[in-house]
């Protein structure tokens, strides 16, 4: 094709038209993205912002939070949502690191999910719709904190998932099927039901995550950061805290109080 004035104008016209179409098609998405970003950072349109504080000064490494989580959420030993590792500071002092899902305000796992099975609720919690998950495991690849667990094994719906579960009554949550991913939910089933009954999560045990309730030394504290009088708001205001891998921009909703002698930048 010769490049003469006529053809050049044609090409420019086509380019302009396609740009306009692309802009028109993406505009609604951009608007939604901006709206999302505002609701994430400000949290003004959301009534609550659920936050967990883990005090590394207090934690004694008893593993109760790990076990409580397994019992309540029907989690097998090799798929623990809430994990405990023994770490040490640069001066050699041992501390106990426990880690639930951090419920990032900018969750990489929800961004990459092709079906929206992992999504962020209005109150900032990152949760899953197990009925939408296709098991592609992109969320496992994207999560910086190794929070995601996949159901590799066939799931026996009758046998208990672990030795910690009561053999009577029924589990608090449904058992996940083979081939889907799962993760810590901050016990949303307790939060939502508690709020319906006028309870305050973080204060009333029936509306608080199991790991927080069971902690014998109160190393885990839960509450609403949008409520300036809540315990979590008070602690975050008055105590130095840090979050994991903040440089990634994930803005986790789990805050840690550093252990004695720990250098945090």
């Amino acid at each position: 094709m010769d490049i003469n004035r006529r053809n050049l104008l044609k090409i420019l016209g086509a380019a302009g038209f396609s740009t306009a179409v692309a802009a028109a098609l993406t505009a609604p998405f951009n608007k939604r993205q901006i709206a999302n970003a505002q609701s994430h950072s400000g949290g003004e349109d959301a009534e609550h912002r659920w936050v967990m504080i883990i005090d590394l000064r207090k934690c004694i490494g008893c593993d109760y939070c790990v076990y409580a989580c397994q019992a309540i959420n029907d989690v097998p030993d090799d798929m623990r949502w809430n994990v405990h590792v023994v770490d040490q500071t640069r001066t050699g002092e041992v501390f106990h690191m426990t880690r639930p899902c951090l419920h990032c305000q900018e969750p990489p796992c929800a961004d990459v999910c092709p079906t929206g099975a992992t999504y962020q609720r209005g109150d900032g919690l990152v949760v899953m719709d197990y009925d939408r998950c296709i098991g592609c495991r992109y969320c496992q690849v994207a999560c910086p904190y190794d929070v995601r667990r996949f159901n590799w094994e066939p799931v026996d719906q009758d046998a208990p998932a672990n030795d910690l579960q009561p053999q009577w009554g029924s589990a608090e949550v449904e058992r996940r099927s083979r081939g889907v991913t799962e993760k810590c939910t901050f016990c949303i089933h307790r939060l939502d039901r508690g709020l319906e009954h006028g309870l305050t999560p973080g204060v009333d045990e029936a509306a608080t995550p199991a790991c927080v309730n069971i902690c014998p030394v109160e190393a885990r504290i839960f509450g609403d950061l949008n409520d300036p009088d809540s315990r979590v708001s008070q602690i975050i205001e008055n105590t130095p805290t840090f979050r994991l891998a903040e440089e990634l921009g994930t803005e986790p909703n789990v805050y840690y109080v550093p252990a004695e002698g720990m250098v945090t930048t």
Partner: protein, 421 residues
């Protein structure tokens, strides 16, 4: 030499012993693959070597590689229908065939790889438009439809359908839409071939992946590998027919295009290595790279296989006229290009995953070395799917009108290529 060719030409029509052995071998591999597939679908992904730390492995590599090797279809479409280089039109059908087989292989691998194959269509009905993987899924599905439409006339023209005259007519009608399909296919391919690299590139959690160069490397290597795979396919058929099914000169011109793409890819690759190693490096990436080099033979697979065998050597062959004109050297270059792009995908996938994520704020290195090796059912499905693609190619070039009439007199058959051209 001429007699050998004559014999070969004569025995081309009725099935001969090597053909039966070859098809039988592929059949056996496919049985292994089918058994593995059934095991995976009934017992679950627990039978694979995959873990929560390395959730993607051999099948994802197969998937990415098959899609990349199918890139010849869109490259030749662009060359023929946009650049109007008519002499390459003869490549269109074989490139579309390779693409069709590549994309169906990839979808077979994905079907096994996802945990809930019964929900494979969920990205279409529950879209998350922010996900790179969603974009790839949609592009692959739509592009597969394009490839199927481009394949349809070839199948409908075949001898089997000649008993229904309407079939050829329908085929002809579909064929008329080819230029339009080619442009749509080009758009879709440019989108998803690069997004396959972006799948890794957008993951901020993995310092070895988090860089802007991966989409560019993936699309350029796919262009080179797609042409390489097509040339390789043409050469194999030419060898067994004892004559070039596409004019030798046109194959050589295609080789130059492959070489150009490979040169661009290598340039970006070396630039990427230099930037990520020296002047734009981050502490996290340096730590991860050091760990990777300590625990895996990454240096060997990167420099020896990816750069030297899969890049430099084929590049020299593609651009050195004397070597390029030689049938065997050009076959070797095409094969090495294919190997190189498969290794790029393996190295990117596994390297990013086997380095542990260190999220604890302390100083102790807590997380053990992660190991990944495919298990027997994983290998079975892998080889079964590869065998499917090879069998599809073997049968298609035998029974479908993939190549037009003889392009060259038998005097220029490949075995004469040792003589100066």
């Amino acid at each position: 030499m001429t007699t050998a060719t004559a014999q070969r030409t004569q025995t081309a029509q009725p099935p001969n012993a090597p053909f039966i052995i070859w098809v039988g071998l592929l059949g056996l591999l496919m049985v292994w693959g089918a058994v593995s597939g059934i095991i995976v679908l009934t017992i679950g992904l627990a039978v694979t070597g995959l873990t929560d730390q390395v959730p993607w492995g051999l099948w994802i590599v197969l998937d990415l590689s098959a899609i990349s090797l199918g890139a010849g279809a869109f490259i030749f479409s662009a060359i023929v229908y946009l650049l109007k280089l008519e002499r390459f039109r003869i490549f269109a059908r074989v490139a579309v065939l390779v693409g069709f087989l590549g994309y169906t292989s990839a979808m077979l691998a994905l079907f096994l790889d996802i945990g809930r194959p019964d929900r494979f269509f969920y990205p279409i009905i529950f879209p998350n438009v922010h996900s790179v993987l969603w974009e790839i899924t949609m592009c692959v599905v739509l592009y597969f439809a394009v490839l199927a439409a481009e394949m349809a006339p070839v199948v409908l023209e075949s001898r089997f359908f000649s008993r229904w005259p309407q079939a050829a007519q329908i085929g002809h009608q579909i064929h008329k839409a080819t230029p339009f399909l080619a442009v749509v296919g080009l758009g879709l391919s440019l989108l998803h071939q690069s997004s396959l690299g972006a799948t890794y590139g957008v993951i901020a959690a993995r310092p070895l992946w988090y860089k802007p160069s991966l989409p560019i490397m993936f699309i350029l290597s796919a262009a080179a590998g797609g042409i390489g795979a097509t040339i390789l396919g043409v050469h194999v058929v030419s060898y067994f027919k004892g004559k070039f099914v596409i004019k030798k000169k046109v194959i050589e011109q295609a080789a130059i295009i492959a070489g150009g793409m490979l040169a661009l890819y290598l340039y970006i690759k070396i630039w990427d290595w230099a930037t990520t190693t020296y002047y734009s490096s981050t502490a996290a990436r340096e730590t991860d790279l050091a760990l990777l080099r300590l625990t895996t033979p990454y240096d060997t697979s990167f420099w020896l296989v990816e750069v030297l065998l899969g890049g430099m050597i084929p590049l020299v062959i593609f651009f050195w006229p004397r070597l390029r004109r030689n049938f065997w050297w050009l076959s070797l270059a095409s094969l090495l290009t294919v190997v190189g792009i498969v290794f790029l995908r393996w190295n990117v996938t596994v390297a990013g995953l086997v380095v542990p994520l260190d999220w604890s704020p302390g100083s102790a290195f807590l997380f053990p070395r992660i190991f990944y090796a495919p298990t027997v059912p994983e290998l079975g499905a892998f080889f079964g799917i590869v065998a499917y693609a090879l069998l599809g190619y073997t049968l298609a070039v035998r029974f479908l009108p993939i190549f037009e009439e003889e392009e060259e007199p038998p005097s220029s058959m490949p075995i004469d290529e040792t003589a100066p051209a």
